[in-house]
């Protein structure tokens, strides 16, 4: 399964990539929404795991654009900030049903989540 990590915190994104690779996934990291949109042309993810609050384009916006290009891509959002709830409330009121995980997310929890998703990915 191909997983794209989007987070402006480079150490977080890079260590998560390593964890996913060790667990047998193909993983890439992008450090902002614009870079992610460029990356998906060459690396087509099955799952996108994105931080919400990022400078410039936020995670909800970036994933919205990814989803419009890759409708079958599964989106998971994570964040640790109060403003996230506002963003998510707006997104949900527009029909968005992506999961939101609260940081810090333990790697074993994320791996367990991905393993359940694997059953549904073509």
């Amino acid at each position: 399964m191909r997983v794209l990590i989007i987070d402006d915190e480079k150490p977080l994104a890079d260590t998560l990539c390593l964890i996913l690779e060790h667990a047998g996934y193909l993983a890439r990291a992008a450090y902002d929404g614009v870079a992610a949109l460029s990356l998906i042309r060459s690396f087509v993810p099955d799952v996108v795991i994105s931080d919400v609050a990022m400078p410039g384009m936020n995670g909800v916006e970036a994933c919205g654009k990814i989803k419009s290009e890759l409708p079958n891509c599964h989106i998971i959002l994570f964040s640790g900030q109060a403003e996230t709830d506002e963003l998510m409330a707006n997104a949900r009121s527009n029909g968005c049903n992506w999961e939101l995980l609260a940081k810090p997310v333990h790697p074993r929890d994320l791996l367990a989540k991905l393993s359940t998703l694997q059953l549904f990915v073509a």
């Binding site: 915190e9 150490p11 977080l12 260590t15 998560l16 390593l18 964890i19 060790h22 609050a53 640790g80 900030q81 109060a82 996230t84 709830d85 506002e86 998510m88 409330a89 949900r92 999961e99 995980l101 609260a102 940081k103 810090p104 997310v105 333990h106 790697p107 074993r108 929890d109 367990a112 989540k113 359940t116």
Partner: protein
Amino acid sequence: MKRPESLFSSDLWIQALESYAGSTHLTVRLFDGAGRVVLGPLHPTPLFQLFEERKYVTGLFAECVRQCLAQSGSRPVVIVSQTTGLSVVGTSLQLEGEIVGAAVAGFALLNFSQASEIQILARDSGIRFEQVWQVVREQKPEPRQRLILMGELLQILGDSLLSENHRARQYQDVALKLNEVAIEKDRLHQEFFKQQERLHQVEKMAAAGQLASSLAHEINNPLSSVTNALYLLETHAGLDESARSFVTTAVTELDRVSRIVKQSLSYYQVGTTPLDVDLSVILGELLEIFNAKFRRSGIELKRKVSTRSELVGYPDELRQVIHNLLLNAVEAMPAGGRLGVSVHDSFDWIHHRRKGDLKGVRLTITDSGHGIPRRDRALIFEPFYTTKTEQGTGLGLWVLQGIVAKHEGVISLRSSNRKGRSGTAISIFFPSHIRSLDKSAKLKLDSVA
């Protein structure tokens, strides 16, 4: 106009000044232009009597008179003289542009707030501390502004009595009415300062909330990175046994940090979407987590939990409420004791008489700990107030109160310090629905593995 022979000895003066003294609760003394006492003390208060016996304040009155008389030639003045928290207000009296005397009205406490100041007063006056303390506690301090207003009123009263005696009674009535206005003005001043203090507190709380929110965000990202790095290290093939045990310890402690961040600071990540919550499930999960702590501390748990106790609320914040209460109960029983927890359907019996009104869920936690001292009970919900000298942040119960208010809940607290019967019981009622919310905003919670 002919100057009266005996300015201060008439019945009219005495009557007017007694009335003035009674309504202002100040001891009134009157001095003539030569600084001699010509009337009073009228309405001697316990405070005045205490210090007058030792002649301690004679100097204070005299100093006030001296200052009033030194204003000769200028327009009437009001002076507030003070020493070690005791105050005297005086005013000069004029007749046909000439100062004929100084009326000294007040004898009051001003801003006595600490035992250390009382000690200085006791030492300087040669009166036993306990005696001074007793009287000072019973007499309310007067704000400086009020004493100045009283001095102005005394001036109006005195000047009117000096100028035309046959109209003095009329002026006396006016002066007393002005006195009422001054007292009301003073009361409004006090209210204003209280409101300012309340606003300051709210700002403090908002700042604390913002600070905690920023802190949580700042911590969460590096915390995530460290969690990931330790996870990678723990599974690294090149690690020997002893190094792996160090990593395991680091992982365990970091898990603790993560829980603390989520539970303590995550409140400030205010949820805007309420969910269906079963409080008995949350309580059950937390009791599992606390189980080891109960055993280590010698705490005997008695639980009475309904199978389903549902309400609409914010699950993370409700979890934090229960966590805080359990933690406080455990910390109140360092040598062990009894802990009771119950969750069941209930109604708000504080605000509603009938069982059918405002249904919901009641959470009760009781402990047989040392109890909350009476002097702390009104303050424990204030931000940054803590009785835990080392590890307390002072935010726990303040946060809890905020969460309960968000759920439109009601907190009731009982505590006792009595030996052999000490302990605390805290009961929180959560209504089934938060009435101020639109029910259509509810979502089901997706569980995360």
